[in-house]
């Protein structure tokens, strides 16, 4: 499989201060990538550089093997064949839905144009709104028009800038799934920018996690969740608690919690380590020996999310079925499924 998009040590600077430094990654044809990170991590700058709206200070961006951005050369945005769905959709308010979608199509053959517009409207399920204007549409409909408009000229890659930030949270997860299915169906290579890990998980084949303008980790959603490479990744992705705990040379955790495998803990030296415990690592078990004190309890429908205090005062989260209903102050019997735990050495 060829790489559709390649970034090679890209740096983007504003007034000499770099917002993005040394970012490299490649996106295979047909994949959906995601730039994930907190606000201000430079992910939108990267997207804009790919679209041709920001110059790069160092490095190179290429599309299907053709270089489109270097410090010396920048192909004009209109020549890149990069589709973009803007954060606020940026629909043209003076054009109808069909004219918005047809905006990027060649003037040539009117029949072809009409056919392509109809095809796009079908794709996003807006065939009945063809003559309406953007202000007459709901937020979700506007987003689908923006998507259809960007896809109509058959771009080499589709960029989506925080595509769900303008929608209410109930619609988000639903739409993310719909759009992923739609992009996969049309075999479009896409790159999404978001600060929301749920969106990233729902949409992406590959996530590029950014922190302070640098790549923190690249991997599938599952890899990032289960094997975060850095403390930042562990903290930013997924719920969970980082606790400090003692370990002996054989890998046995303090207080008889269990034993880590050598793959989890390659260093094999006794001392204090940092351990990431996701809520699904701490499991409710009636027969377990550990009784931890309940300090907080949140009802989540199917589950209760408990915060449990360790004897030394650190807390861990535990996701238990909602019929396990213990009052705050009581204790909860738990065991630790340590094969899902992640070790960060050099604990305090």
């Amino acid at each position: 499989m060829d790489n559709q998009l390649t970034l090679d040590r890209v740096t983007i600077a504003y007034d000499g201060v770099s917002a993005v430094a040394d970012v490299s990654f490649a996106l295979p044809e047909g994949d959906i990538g995601c730039l994930l990170g907190p606000s201000g991590c430079g992910k939108t700058s990267l997207l804009r550089a790919i679209a041709g709206f920001e110059p790069v200070a160092a490095g190179a961006i290429s599309l299907r093997g053709q270089t489109i951005s270097t410090p010396q050369y920048a192909q004009a945005p209109e020549e890149r064949a990069v589709g973009m769905v803007f954060q606020d959709f940026a629909l043209f308010p003076h054009l109808s839905v069909s004219d918005n979608i047809g905006f990027g199509l060649a003037q040539g053959n009117a029949d072809e144009r009409r056919a392509r517009i109809a095809e796009m409207l079908d794709l996003v399920g807006l065939a009945n709104e063809i003559e309406r204007y953007p202000h007459e549409l709901s937020g979700g409909q506007q987003q689908r028009v923006a998507l259809a408009r960007a896809l109509a000229p058959n771009p080499k890659i589709l960029l989506l800038d925080e595509p769900f930030s303008n929608l209410d949270s109930v619609r988000r997860s639903q739409l993310a799934g719909e759009i992923r299915a739609l992009l996969k169906r049309s075999k479009v290579t896409a790159l999404l920018v978001t600060h929301d890990q749920d969106e990233a998980f729902a949409m992406a084949d590959q996530i590029v996690l950014l922190n302070h303008g640098r790549v923190d980790q690249i991997g599938t959603p599952r890899e990032l969740y289960q094997r975060p490479a850095t403390l930042f990744a562990a903290d930013f992705i997924g719920a969970g608690n980082l606790i400090d705990i003692d370990i002996d040379a054989a890998g046995n955790l303090d207080a008889g919690w269990g034993k880590l495998t050598s793959s989890q803990w390659p260093e094999q030296c006794a001392g204090r380590i940092k351990l990431l415990l996701r809520p699904d690592v701490v499991v409710f078990d009636d027969h377990a020996g550990h009784q931890l004190n309940i300090v907080e309890k949140i009802f989540q429908g199917a589950n209760h999310l408990y915060q449990l205090a360790l004897p030394d005062g650190q807390t861990v989260a535990c996701l238990a079925p909602s019929d396990i209903d213990q009052p705050i102050g009581d204790s909860l019997p738990v065991r630790f499924d340590l094969d899902q735990a992640v070790v960060f050495s050099g604990g305090a």
Binding site: A76, A81, V82, A90, L91, H135
Partner: protein
Amino acid sequence: MEITTHAAIAPRDSRQRPSWRNLATLVTALLALPVLVILSSLLQPFSAAWQHLYSTVLGDYVANSLLLVAGVGVGTLLLGVSAAWLTALCEFPGRKLLSWALLLPMAMPAYIIAYTYTGLLDLTGPMQSGLRQVFGWSYGDYYFPEIRSLGGAICMLSLVLYPYVYLLARVAFAGQSEAILEASRNLGKGPWQSFFWVSLPMARPAIAAGLSLALMETLADYGTVAYFGVSTFTTGIFRTWYGLDELTTAAQLCALLLLFVFALILLERESRRRLRFHQSTVRGTPKLLVLRGWRAPLASVFGTAIVVLGFVLPALQLVYWAASRWRYNFNRDFGELLFNSFTLATAAAIACLLVALLLAYTKRRFNARRERSQVEIANLGYAVPGTVIAVGIMAPAGWLDQQIDTLSSAWFNYPTGLLLSGTVGILLFAYVVRFLSVSLQSVESGLTAIKPNIDESARSLGASPLQVLGRIHLPLLRPSLLTALLLVFVDVLKELPTTLILRPFNFNTLAVRTYELASDERLVDAALPALAIVATALLPVLLIIRTMLHERRPHG
């Protein structure tokens, strides 16, 4: 609790409601009277004078008015849109300074700029004298465009009316977020294509709204076309009125002119309606296009040239003239002119404000269809040319005077003469009809900022309705009220045709005196009163500039 409060309020309301509501309706009916009188003149028989007009000059009136409107339309569009686009979306030296300086020509009434350019470009003016001296020509040796012509009038009006287009187009361009233009680039359109396919169409309703305002002023203009000897509707109405003494025919001409005005009103309404949909909800301000090479100085020169031609040059000419005859003209008579004008303008501003408050408050309080349409009707006055209003008032006032005089003579054997016609009261009424909308828009925009729940919270904290007015509304409204007073004050000061027709005998204002002196070819003497008008007219322009600069500051 709910029930008792309502019960306590209800009886008082039912007592108050009819009186205020009916007063507002009565006032609106009075305001609509002049236009209704004009329209009803169409039902009267067309006299022999009309036949004469029809076969001789009416064609000229229509053709010249249309040519004038078309010419000023093209002129204000070219100047206004290009200046707005440059200052809102491009970066070049002097952009910030020009973006507000381009509003200065608003302070220059069209008839005054016409006088100054006549002085500059006439046969004996410095321009032609200089040419003759330098090249050794004498009169007739060379071609020089005649300023006192239809083309000249188009240039003069375009130079001072383009700010309407500029102001609205600029807001529209500046509000176009960068993302919209980027979306266009992203979809394969270059910068110029993006301008013509996206920027310009998105700004079109704003441009059309500004254009319709400029064209309304063009149709209403009397001073410029009269001075340049161009036969248009307004000069025709004056001629029919004073020359032929044909009141009905003049009114019928006015009615015809109103048809053109209504077309412009429709254009403006439609544009403003569409304006709401053309505003994108996308956040962010546009990134400025940095002009490079020869383009940047060209943009600076272009903008500067407009400001110099539309304001600086005529203003300097006025100052020069006024200074040259300062000792001779700065005297008691000038003091009287100032006093007359300022008193009249102050009285009109207060009258407009009171009526505006009545209409705006009844609309806010009852907000029924009746109140809303009253405000709509009152707002139409700004579109009606002053000449039309004057004729529409003259006719019923004359008729009423005559009736009173007849009755009085018959019953008391005491002829009253003209009680209403030629009084300051009638003149003030005409100003209210014409300029009320200026007040009303100010007051209404201030009032909409005070949400009804503010009243309710004040009432629930124990304030009486009067206290709500004094402690909440007045402080919040003060800027709007002052703006309303200032705008009407200046409009009245600049106003020419209405004052010319309706003023009391021998009652002179700055505008009328300027016009008379210029008509007598005493341009140099006309400069002092003209300068007084321009200086005062600068005040509201400065107010707009201040608002504009304040709005620019936030958003980095």
